[in-house]
């Protein structure tokens, strides 16, 4: 859907609504996303990874790039900057990630890195997952689970996980994962563990105290919960702590020390 107003164009990263005007609307008329969800609209080009090595891949798996989970990602960024760690942050709502085609269910050796779906932004994410020493994944709770967008992202890592089933050398074994979950309903630990299971199956190590979550009760609505989270010192303590623990683990070089020594055990 496109707004008829003249001027600059802005794209809502949640629903794709295109607005025109000097500034984006305070609220998306299509999905109610805040002004923070809008970015300048340009012609979409597939994400490319330039091959430059870095330490941490920070994934904001929310449908909203700059709400509660985005705030947690901001906190993680503060720690990564303080510690001088190289990182890249991606809000996956800004990218195109197709559903997994599940080629492995047609023929087991049909799924392996590089992924057969080269039509979206995921191949670049595959390369960055392989290049980074650690991944920090964040998600809000949607129906007691991670977001569907994040699940698509994690499902698409199948081509990396499937290498071990094909008796090919692993590409991510011994890397580190950290997880953060936000929400105002039950399901934080379930969402976090669902996320972790993907990484466990790929040979990642969960950083000690590597899961940070903060939820609050139904007394907060979608407007006041943002205010609550931003004034809650526990959110800062937990997310920053988890991030610091990921950085500590990177410095142990578990990936290098365990290379060739791990026995893949996965489904």
């Amino acid at each position: 859907m496109t707004s008829p107003l003249p001027g600059k164009t802005w794209r809502c990263t949640v629903c794709g609504y295109i607005a025109r005007g000097e500034s984006p609307p305070a609220e998306c008329p299509q999905c109610a996303g805040t002004v923070r969800e809008f970015i300048g609209h340009t012609e979409r080009r597939a994400l490319r990874y330039n091959g430059e090595r870095f330490d941490v891949l920070l994934i904001n798996g929310s449908n909203h790039r700059a709400n509660n989970t985005g705030y947690m990602a901001d906190l993680a960024e503060e720690v990564l900057k303080e510690k001088g760690v190289s990182y890249r942050r991606y809000n996956i709502s800004e990218f195109t990630i197709n559903h997994c085609w599940c080629c492995y269910s047609m023929r087991d050796n049909a799924c392996r890195y590089p992924c057969r779906d080269q039509l979206d932004d995921m191949p670049a994410f595959h390369d960055m997952v392989i290049a980074a020493k650690a991944v920090i994944v964040m998600s809000p709770i949607n129906w007691n689970n991670m977001t569907a967008r994040l699940k698509d992202f994690l499902d698409r890592l199948n081509c990396i996980q499937n290498l071990s089933l094909l008796k090919k050398p692993g590409l991510v074994e011994g890397k580190i994962v950290g997880i953060a979950v936000s929400g105002h309903e039950d399901g934080a630990t379930k969402a976090a563990m669902d996320i972790f299971l993907y990484f466990q199956q790929m040979g990642y190590l969960l950083a000690p105290f590597g899961i940070a979550y903060r939820v609050h009760g139904a007394q907060f609505n979608t407007i006041t919960d943002n205010e609550f989270l931003k004034s809650d010192p526990l959110v800062i303590q937990k997310v920053k702590g988890m991030t610091a623990n990921v950085v500590e683990m990177i410095q142990l070089d578990c990936e290098g020390n365990l290379k060739g020594k791990l026995v893949p055990v996965c489904e």
């Binding site: 597939a46 330039n50 091959g51 080629c103 050796n109 049909a110 392996r112 890195y113 590089p114 992924c115 057969r116 080269q118 039509l119 191949p123 390369d127 392989i130 290049a131 090919k168």
Partner: protein
């Protein structure tokens, strides 16, 4: 696979949505100069499912626009 003729026989380039037929030799993954002179737009890639890729244990895609396996490898 070093036999380029055999590779061309197995190669899926001709079925690829990005492919433009301008009488170039296909199997860009193995070509000395992998990048095609006429394919400019990446509109999909069949390389990840190609038997040439499988036999060579190659790990890249879009050889026709990004260069052969060797040329893309130093990036990792």
């Amino acid at each position: 696979m070093t036999d380029r003729k055999k590779a061309i026989g197995l190669c899926l380039c001709g079925m690829c949505p990005s492919f433009v037929d301008c009488s170039e030799e296909i199997a860009y993954c193995l070509a000395e100069k992998g990048i095609s002179g006429c394919i400019k737009d990446e509109q999909g890639c069949l390389c990840p499912g190609c038997p040439v890729q499988d036999e060579g244990n190659f790990q890249h895609a879009y050889y026709c626009t990004r260069g052969n396996e060797h040329d893309q490898s130093p990036a990792r």
